[in-house]
Amino acid sequence: MKRHFMAATALAALLCYTGAAYAEEDSKLVEPLAAYKSFIADHTEKLLDNTSKFTEAVKAGDIAKAKALYAPTRMDYETIEPIAELFSDLDHTIDARADDFEKKEQDPKFSGFHRIEHGLWSENSTKGLEAYADQLLADVKDLNHRIENLTFPPETVVGGAAALMEEVAATKISGEEDRYSHTDLWDFKANFDGSKKIYDLVKPLIEKDNADFVKKVDGDFKVVDETLAKYKTADGYELYDKLSEADRKVLAAKVNALATELSTLRGKLGLN
């Protein structure tokens, strides 16, 4: 008599004797983690593709095109932030802001997206940006390769939901991330999507025992989503300065609430 293969819990040895439950809780994380890796792999591929086009435009001296591609290209980076951040050297060369350098915008070590942003918007020129464009593409290729070979630590994945909210709270909410182009709301959306993805993947595992929590978090995500959506445009988002003071406050409060709530995700899943 054939048993449906779904009834088989394993291909290989699982030995259980006294009836105590197999580590169901832990094993339930495997699916979300695998799905997240897939999500990240897709976005990293897109990032590589878009960065290639963006840097091409920069090197070709096509300022308008480069400007148009800047914010959409960054979105994939901001979405995969929890994982990209694990490689702090690359994070530094790809995404550091001028603040982090002694000579600020003039510092030769200032590179990556924001260095190019500075050239495109503050100087309205691509002059001198060729080397930075090459470096950015090389760094993104490297990042892609490293992510492929990385086994995602479960705590980093689940903790990433909160980490992305911290990102928003620290720099996007104040318009400090993209201070030359003012395209912070694009980044905000990307961080938001990345955070919500993780939360959605693990939500089924915590719903039963945390109904109120899930309801609250769902509600908070909804408010942020709807508030941000007010600033959507045909090809993206309004510039940061269009964000009304009232909406900014609402977003700040909700983002902080989400950061606080999502900081308990790991604990709820028994992860360190």
């Binding site: 350098f101 002694e102 709270a169 720099t171 104040s174 400090e176 604990g267 360190n272």
Partner: protein
């Protein structure tokens, strides 16, 4: 005697020495280093450690720290509740000006730290004193410590050859986001007192009296909580704004031999200029803490990042703050992570003993940043006889630590603290001024 900067009280009884416990041990300050197995110093005098929490029941306006001595006060002096670092640009274009400035500065410091009554002037004139402490200036445990920065020596050819060997311009570490307006300086003044008002009063006094010499660049105030000792007399290290005990493993500031080894320039093997004997290097770092993010981090993770238990301050493998972690038994970092803050700062090996520094920090709380988060952090201050082997070596080891997610150094500078003024008639920096005035540089 070299270490005469124990707290004296004129009207308050000395605290019973038996009520205090020396804490030699393990601890952490954001960006600080820790002692390896240090000799336990037998109690002498009141034996207070610099990073003990000040005892609120003892603090008194009448407490006075002596000014004269081989070393300046405010380094191994027990730390009171309030501190402030102010950095200045100095206007002194000749050795003569420099000498005059040092004399005047010393004069003010003596008055402020020993106490006295400011002169009462004619009403038609501005008052001689700000008046914020009233008609009589009481010492209130005040110390004012003077240091000279790299730029002081670099821009003056008559000082340049006399520059201390390790003194340099503070350069960026990997996690730094240095704000030029919060960095460096020709001269630093460290004010410490029981109350913030005493420090503020002292600063305003010095500015009023030396306006042609000193122009403020940046300042940062800070404080540490005052704590009552335990019933058994144990005093603990004060906590920082991450909620962790800070200073558990500081070298014992009451141990003269240890301070000679770690902090003071001197001894037979020193390779500094003669004028520098009795001085020390001061590393100041303004380190922002991302407190909201920290407060949202699971306790277990906080402890793993730091390498200690939060409430007790004990290392992960021991029971008390004063216990030493046993890293030899934990080579893979299963108990205390290999990248835990305390382990990176002080790996506790024979070689890293030469990297010990004396930390004497304060917590600061400024305003609110643009993104609605609190601007709080650590005013980190460390003293060592060799800047390269001390702070710079330690901070280099800390590069890349997980704690970096939560902290961001934004300012500070390196300074050389002048030796003490020996007795009345002597003044801070006299030997340096004399060497500068003596003309062509001779390395002593």
């Amino acid at each position: 005697m070299a270490h005469d900067h124990k707290t004296e009280t004129s009207a308050v009884d000395s605290v019973d020495a038996s009520r205090r416990t020396l804490l030699l041990g393990l601890g952490v300050a954001a960006g600080g280093a820790l002692a390896s197995s240090l000799p336990v110093k037998a109690e002498t005098g009141d034996g207070k450690q610099v990073t003990d929490a000040p005892e609120s029941h003892i603090a008194d306006v009448k407490q006075r720290v002596p000014f004269y001595g081989v070393h300046q006060a405010g380094i191994v002096t027990p730390r009171p509740a309030n501190g402030m670092i102010v950095s200045f640009d100095v206007i002194a274009e000749t050795p003569a000006d420099f000498d005059l400035m040092l004399r005047k500065l010393t004069e003010r410091i003596v008055f402020l730290t020993q106490g006295g009554i400011p002169p009462v002037l004619d009403r038609k004139l501005p008052p001689s004193d700000s008046g914020i402490l009233g008609p009589e200036i009481l010492p209130d445990n005040l110390t004012i410590t003077v240091g000279l920065g790299n730029s002081m020596f670099e821009t003056r050819p008559w000082l340049n050859p006399l520059k201390p060997r390790c003194l340099q311009r503070m350069t960026q570490f990997k996690n730094d986001a240095l704000d030029a307006e919060l960095c460096h300086g020709d001269l630093s003044l460290q004010f410490c007192a029981n109350t913030a008002d005493t420090n503020i009063h002292a600063l305003r006094d010095i500015l009023k009296n030396l306006p042609e010499y000193l122009v403020p660049r940046w300042k940062q105030e800070g404080n540490v909580p005052t704590v009552l000792p335990e019933p058994d007399g144990t005093v603990h290290s004060a906590r920082n704004f991450l909620g962790f005990r800070d200073g558990s493993a500081n070298p014992h500031s009451g141990d003269d031999a240890l301070m000679d080894e770690i902090v003071w320039i001197g001894g037979k093997d020193h390779d500094e200029h003669e004028w520098a004997v009795g001085g020390t290097y001061q590393a100041v770092r303004i380190i922002r803490n991302f407190v909201e993010r920290w407060d949202r981090t699971p306790l277990g993770e906080q402890e793993r990042i730091i390498g200690r238990r939060k409430m007790s301050g004990a290392p992960m493998d021991a029971a008390k703050e004063s216990d030493t972690p046993d890293y030899a038994k934990d080579p893979d970092g299963k108990v205390t992570r290999l990248d835990a803050h305390i382990r990176l700062a002080n790996p506790r090996t024979a070689e890293t003993r030469k990297n010990l520094i004396l930390r004497r920090p304060f917590n600061y709380s400024n305003g609110v940043t643009k993104n609605g988060q609190l601007d709080q952090g650590l005013l980190f201050i460390a003293y060592q006889s060799d800047l390269e082997k001390g702070f710079i070596a330690v901070q280099t080891r800390l590069d890349g630590e997980p704690l970096e997610e939560y902290i961001k150094p934004i300012g500070g500078g390196y300074f050389f603290v002048l030796p003490g003024a020996r007795e009345a008639g002597d003044y801070l920096g006299r030997k340096l001024a004399e060497a500068a005035a003596a003309g062509p540089p001779t390395r002593s």
